[in-house]
């Protein structure tokens, strides 16, 4: 690879490695697996030099990473590992008694929200994570995930609504 390409690729890794990791994590919910997928994503790009022709860098990386993460999850499922959250796995509203969620809220509100995001079904979680970071709009997310733009908007609204409900329930318990 030419020196210019090497420098360009290094710059790409420095710019987007954390974004790629975040996309992989949104699918896999496991930091070690997410890092593996991030490394493999960049390795694949390095081999086929695909990043040079990418129009929207983030949308392109999101699409590639998401596909690789989904493949990794499928392989893990075939190997009998953990199944991931579905719509039925959303956390229930906290009970009136002070529980671990309340204690956690007191310590770190972000950690509670992260746990709630983890509990969202994947079709809501991934668009939410992609929308939260800078430039990706609904159309670009739709392209990356292979769904219509309207579907992305609906999913984003639904994800935020669910998170609000859970946060409201926790706040009620806290103030009770």
């Amino acid at each position: 690879m030419a020196t210019g390409d090497e420098a360009g690729f290094t710059s790409l890794v420095e710019r987007q490695a954390r974004f790629v990791f975040r996309v992989a994590y949104a699918v896999l919910l496991n930091a070690a697996d997410a890092e593996d997928v991030a490394q493999e994503t960049f390795l694949k790009l390095y081999r086929n030099r695909g990043w040079r022709d990418a129009g929207n860098e983030r949308a392109f990386l999101a699409r590639v990473t998401w596909r690789m993460a989904v493949d990794r999850r499928r392989q893990s499922a075939q190997a009998g590992q953990t199944l991931f959250a579905t719509a039925g796995d959303l956390p229930e509203a906290p009970s009136p008694e002070p529980g671990p969620e309340q204690a956690l809220l007191a310590a770190n509100r972000h950690a509670v929200v992260h746990a709630m995001i983890d509990a969202l079904p994947e079709e809501l979680r991934v668009p939410l994570v992609l929308s939260a970071h800078e430039e990706l709009n609904s159309r670009e997310i739709g392209r990356a995930l292979g769904v219509p733009e309207g579907t992305v908007r609906t999913r984003l609204q639904r994800a935020r609504q669910l998170l609000r409900q859970k946060l409201g329930a926790i706040e009620e318990v806290r103030h009770a």
């Binding site: 954390r18 994590y25 890092e35 390095y46 929200v113 995001i117 939260a132 998170l163 609000r164 946060l167």
Partner: protein
């Protein structure tokens, strides 16, 4: 409404910190790519070495198969091989080098010659088996048949008919040997 905005703010802030990688992610990614990249030329070199070795082996086999000077002239020559050439051919066939090459190398054979009745090309005959002149014994038999009287010929023909019958051999009889008893020795005789 104020509460909803507050929740949105919390969600937004939490999303900003969601899925944070450990420090040094970029360095680890670049290190892995460098490791993979450094192994690729080695694989490429080994591939070239394997290709060159295979090509060299193929070239040697081709030279062994087509590089024998005696094979081409022998095929076109008419006449038996000289004893010296026959010895060379035998040595080639039995040498260990020939055995190693095995099936890839054709074994040299003596060329077909015009003087060899067994292998010379003959015209195809209409009658099979091909008629041949009478042998001396057959000629004597024909003369005998022409000159002998009728009774002799018939007895000869009859004898020919019995040729296929099994031969009867009379049992061999051997008379027992008779030996007279020995006389007892006389007293005083020495």
């Amino acid at each position: 409404m104020h509460e909803e905005n507050d929740f949105d703010r919390v969600i937004h802030e939490a999303l900003g910190a969601y899925g944070e990688a450990d420090s040094g992610l970029e360095r680890r990614v670049l290190a892995r790519i460098a490791a993979e990249h450094s192994s690729v030329p080695w694989r490429g070199r080994s591939l070239w070495v394997a290709l060159l070795t295979a090509s060299a082996c193929l070239l040697i086999v081709i030279l062994l198969m087509h590089g024998r000077p005696a094979s081409v002239p022998q095929a076109n020559r008419i006449g038996p091989p000289t004893p010296h050439e026959a010895a060379k051919v035998t040595a080639r066939v039995e040498s260990p080098a020939t055995q190693r090459v095995g099936r890839l190398r054709r074994v040299a054979r003596p060329a077909r010659t015009a003087g060899d009745p067994a292998t010379a090309a003959l015209p195809k005959q209409e009658v099979f088996p091909t008629p041949r002149p009478l042998s001396p014994a057959e000629r004597v038999l024909v003369e005998f048949a022409a000159r002998a009287p009728e009774s002799e010929r018939k007895s000869f023909i009859a004898a020919q008919d019995h040729l296929d019958e099994p031969i009867a051999i009379a049992a061999i009889r051997i008379a027992p040997i008779r030996i007279s008893p020995l006389e007892p020795p006389q007293p005083g005789a020495n």
